[in-house]
């Protein structure tokens, strides 16, 4: 990595003061959430019960120090947002997850934080990501394919989405989301000139040139079909939406998005007739009250939980979110509305908004199309995922089984979200250290041209 050139125009302090101040705020939030939980369940607080939150805050402070030591110029708001979300997620896992799952999640959180710390310092050569994008994509799809054969579910009838060996399991579809963004960023960066030219007209719509759209469609379609076979419709919807979004990012044609949404609507209509699972989901969405006793139970309980919160919530540990099935994963937002109230839920939405804002900002300031697409795609992935799950809980769209980034219980989800954050951070560093007009050596925007190898 080239030494950062002298930078007289941007006088960011090496002490990263914004990050420090925000970290203190985030630590305060985490610690007060933890103590609220302790108070809400046990009735009294001993300082030693706060150790999970304290440990997390400590780790993040250490990471902050390492960044200061390295004179990093990366985005200063990302790390505190991560602490706030992961801290809250840790507390929620303690509150909602049954059995020994909170301890496992704590382990994931600690491992994830350590990996975050390491990842923030490891030189990430984005060229690697770009060059081997087909390989990454194939690995991702392959892992998901493995779940068809070896997959295990959480219970007898649950979709078999997990791969694992004794004691350790992960969810390949989460990884697929990440590698697909990487793949699409690379592919679309190379092809974007082509994609914005139109050579075929179908009616009033312009379709991008087919030879170039085809691999794109294949990868997307393959992933989606795979997931549909595994009944993981949430992930399928997520990937499809990410694909559409990145297509728009690269081509600038809103028409593609419209076409994509239209074909999705047609596809789901067709599937609706064929698959009872979709019929059930749609029925629950349209009228949960009449099936409140069986299929609609989860959604109705979630809605009643949210109704019970009020403005300030019932207090952590004092509500009844545990009657909602899968509340520690799919329905964690309902628990937030119930126990933290409207104020708490809107605050959480604001924190997510902050995360997306920084992500998009990093993308906007990134040097190079690939970096911009990558940052935008990762942010889009997080944003769409957040929207899909929360909208499902709020009955804006039908329910799906995907997780809320950072807040839902789940190791793979946490690690992939953290990986996205690491990449975003590294992109922000590289844009900050580059001068304007940029001729960065590692991200060559100039190499995007017709006929470049893809």
């Amino acid at each position: 990595m080239p030494a950062p050139p002298a930078n007289p125009q941007r006088r960011t302090s090496r002490w990263r003061p914004t990050e420090f101040v925000l970290l203190v705020l985030a630590a305060g939030l985490t610690l007060s959430a933890q103590s609220a939980l302790v108070h809400g369940t046990a009735g009294e607080i001993h300082l030693r019960d706060l150790w999970p939150a304290a440990l997390l805050c400590g780790l993040f402070l250490v990471i902050h120090l390492t960044l200061v030591l390295r004179r990093s110029t990366g985005d200063q708001v990302l790390l505190p947002i991560l602490l706030a979300l992961m801290g809250l997620g840790l507390v929620l896992s303690q509150r909602l997850a049954p059995g020994d799952l909170p301890e496992r999640q704590g382990l994931w959180v600690v491992l994830g934080t350590v990996a975050l710390g390491v990842g923030l310092h490891t030189p990430v050569d984005l060229r690697l990501l770009r060059r081997y994008r087909y390989s990454w994509a194939l690995i991702g799809v392959g892992l998901v394919a493995l779940t068809l054969v070896f997959g295990r579910g959480l219970s007898q009838d649950a979709p078999r989405l997990w791969l694992g060996v004794r004691g350790f399991q992960f969810q390949p579809s989460e990884i697929l989301k990440l590698v697909l963004v990487v793949f699409l960023a690379g592919y679309l960066a190379d092809k974007r000139e082509l994609l914005s030219q139109s050579s075929t007209r179908v009616g009033p719509f312009r379709i991008p040139p087919l030879p170039y759209l085809a691999p794109l469609a294949v990868m997307l379609g393959g992933a989606l079909a795979l997931l549909a076979a595994q009944r993981d419709f949430g992930a399928a919807l997520l990937l499809y939406a990410i694909g559409l979004g990145m297509l728009y990012l690269a081509s600038g044609r809103l028409a593609y998005v419209v076409l994509g949404l239209g074909s999705f609507a047609a596809g789901s209509w067709l599937l609706h007739e064929q698959l009872t699972v979709i019929q059930v989901r749609a029925a629950i969405w349209l009228d949960p009250w009449s099936v409140a006793a069986d299929h609609g139970y989860q959604l109705v309980q979630g809605l009643m939980a949210m109704a019970a919160g009020g403005v300030t919530g019932t207090g952590l540990g004092q509500g009844m979110p545990e009657v909602i099935p899968a509340v520690h994963t799919d329905f964690v937002y309902a628990a937030i509305v119930e126990e933290l109230g409207l104020a708490g839920a809107l605050a959480v939405l604001a924190i997510y908004g902050g995360l997306f804002w920084r992500g998009y900002r990093i993308g906007i300031r990134a040097r190079g199309v690939f970096a911009g697409l990558l940052a935008g795609g990762l942010t889009l992935a997080l944003a769409i995922q957040t929207f899909i799950i929360v909208a499902g809980i709020l009955r804006i769209i039908p329910m799906t089984g995907i997780t809320l980034p950072f807040l839902s219980h789940g190791g793979t989800s946490l690690l992939t979200s953290l990986a996205a954050a690491v990449i975003l951070f590294r992109i922000s560093e590289q844009s900050a250290t580059s001068q304007a007009p940029p001729v960065p050596q590692s991200l060559s925007a100039a190499r995007v041209s017709v006929g470049a190898r893809g």
């Binding site: 207090g315 809107l346 997306f356 998009y360 906007i364 944003a383």
Partner: protein, 492 residues
């Protein structure tokens, strides 16, 4: 700005619009439709919210716990250390009664009557409300002190010995209920476990003191006597020679029936003490139906005394008009008379006091509040006769104990008392055994009513119990005075 950056800006805007939708959705479900959802029958949150309330304890006048909530591993459990007090204290259970998910909130007795205070549903200032919402303080109930004396209550149940019946002890003047027993009764703790372990739930759940209506028998002669004296019809020493008389009231024969053999001429006081039916039949018919009814209503017949627990209305007669035989019969304690033991205890308290039947009071105090609630429960209910008449009747009742059939009440107890026995015919089966009375004889402190359903003769069955109850009440008072215990349970 590069085209990618432009599009990223647009995507960012779209993302924030989407977040706004999420915020709107949150507001809708968390706020706009919240009320409707809260009232859905499959929403167990309201019940569970009730469970989280730290319900206040119920204590007796000496501070002994009658009901309290103990938390076991964070789960609330309502315990009742004095099962004898069940008819008064009632129950508060999550299982009693059918409902969605098999759980409904059920409460009875004092638990129901003072539910608001026990839950802590009292007005707080806005600052306190905000603080307790922000800090998510659990709702704390207040301690409710009843007028009951747990030791006395236990003793009354002991004396009933499992027989069907009821005992009520009222403090003269204040109307405070010191004991209110109904036998057989239920175990409030068992209600939480599941079903009531008995074949006939109605029998154990019935509070005979407040809701059992029985013919009062000769104890009702007290009312006839008070009416006759107040109306100036007779004096205590007015002589009669009813000992061997049989009088006919439109063909209905009434004799004396109960006087000792050989005693033919005696005064009104002894006619009362020996429960001479014909004397009182005549007194009643001489007063005449309208006046008699007036006096009876003055004593509360046809109504129920105001009480925190539900009370059945007593009855003088079932129809609008009383025939002469019925009037005669009612005057000596039969006819269609139906009274609750609580009501008869109030009659005794009226004669032991200033002639006013007091409102029976159950509330001694509520921790930190409730002065007004206590005051509302107290006071006179009906004033049928003057204090002078009451004094006269009182003296006659003392004579009744000293020289009449009620003497079995005080035999061997060492107390002085006044009272009247009753043996109420009920057609088939044994008659009801009754006793009403007060102690001590001069300046009485306590009044009592004892009923043993189908128990037999009042003087052999009910009066001894009544005497022992009064003895215990006085003994407990003396004991507390000696040990200098402060009265009143939890300090207001």
């Amino acid at each position: 700005m590069t085209p990618t950056a432009h599009r990223l800006r647009r995507l960012a805007a779209a993302t924030f619009v989407a977040l706004a939708f999420l915020a709107a959705g949150t507001l809708q479900w968390g706020f706009l439709t919240a009320e409707e959802l809260a009232h859905r029958p499959d929403n167990i949150r309201r019940i569970e919210a009730d469970r989280r309330i730290r319900r206040g304890p119920i204590v007796d006048r000496r501070g002994r716990v009658l009901a309290e909530t103990r938390f076991v591993d964070g789960v609330p459990d309502r315990v009742y250390p004095v099962p004898a007090a069940a008819p008064v204290v009632g129950y508060q259970t999550w299982r009693y009664g059918a409902g969605v998910l098999g759980r409904t909130y059920g409460a009875g007795g004092a638990e129901a009557a003072y539910d608001a205070a026990l839950r802590g549903d009292v007005a707080m200032g806005p600052g306190e409300v905000l603080a307790s919402r922000l800090l998510h303080r659990p709702q704390q109930g207040l301690a409710v002190t009843l007028t009951l004396d747990a030791a006395l209550q236990t003793r009354t149940v002991e004396l009933l010995g499992g027989r069907e019946g009821s005992i009520v002890v009222v403090e003269v003047g204040s109307g405070a209920i010191r004991a209110l027993a109904s036998s057989p009764t239920f175990d409030p703790a068992a209600l939480d476990e599941g079903d009531i372990p008995t074949d006939d739930p109605a029998a154990v759940m019935l509070n005979r003191a407040t809701q059992g209506l029985y013919p009062p028998g000769s104890t009702w002669k007290t009312v006839t006597l008070a009416a006759a004296i107040h109306a100036g019809l007779v004096d205590p020493d007015t002589m009669t020679s009813d000992g061997d008389t049989v009088e006919y009231f439109e063909g209905f024969p009434v004799g004396c029936n109960n006087n000792p053999p050989g005693r033919v001429n005696f005064d009104i006081a002894h006619a009362y003490g020996w429960s001479c039916n014909v004397t009182f039949a005549r007194l009643g018919t001489e007063l005449g139906e309208p006046l008699y009814k007036d006096y009876a209503e003055g004593f509360g017949a046809g109504a129920a005394p105001p009480f925190p627990l539900p009370v059945a209305s007593s009855q003088l007669t079932s129809g609008p008009v009383m025939s002469l035989p019925e009037l005669a019969s009612a005057a000596f304690g039969q006819g269609e008379l139906l009274m609750t033991p609580l009501h008869m205890a109030l009659v005794a308290a009226a004669m032991a006091g200033d002639g006013a039947l007091p409102k029976p009071a159950l509330l001694e105090g509520v921790e930190g509040a409730g002065e007004r609630a206590v005051r509302e429960e107290r006071g006179p209910w009906r004033q049928p006769v003057s204090p002078g008449t009451a004094l006269t009747v009182r003296r006659i009742m003392v004579t009744s104990v000293n020289e009449g059939w009620a003497g079995t009440a005080t035999a061997g107890t060492g107390i002085t008392a006044g009272g009247k026995t009753g043996t109420a015919e009920v057609g088939e089966g044994q008659p009801h055994a009754w006793f009403i009375g007060f102690a001590p004889a001069i300046d009485p402190t306590y009044a009592v009513a004892v009923l043993v359903v189908n128990g037999g003769e009042g003087s052999t069955v009910a009066a001894p119990i009544g005497g022992l109850v009064l003895q215990e009440a006085l003994r407990l008072d003396a004991e507390y005075r000696l040990t200098d215990q402060p009265e009143g349970g939890v300090a207001p």
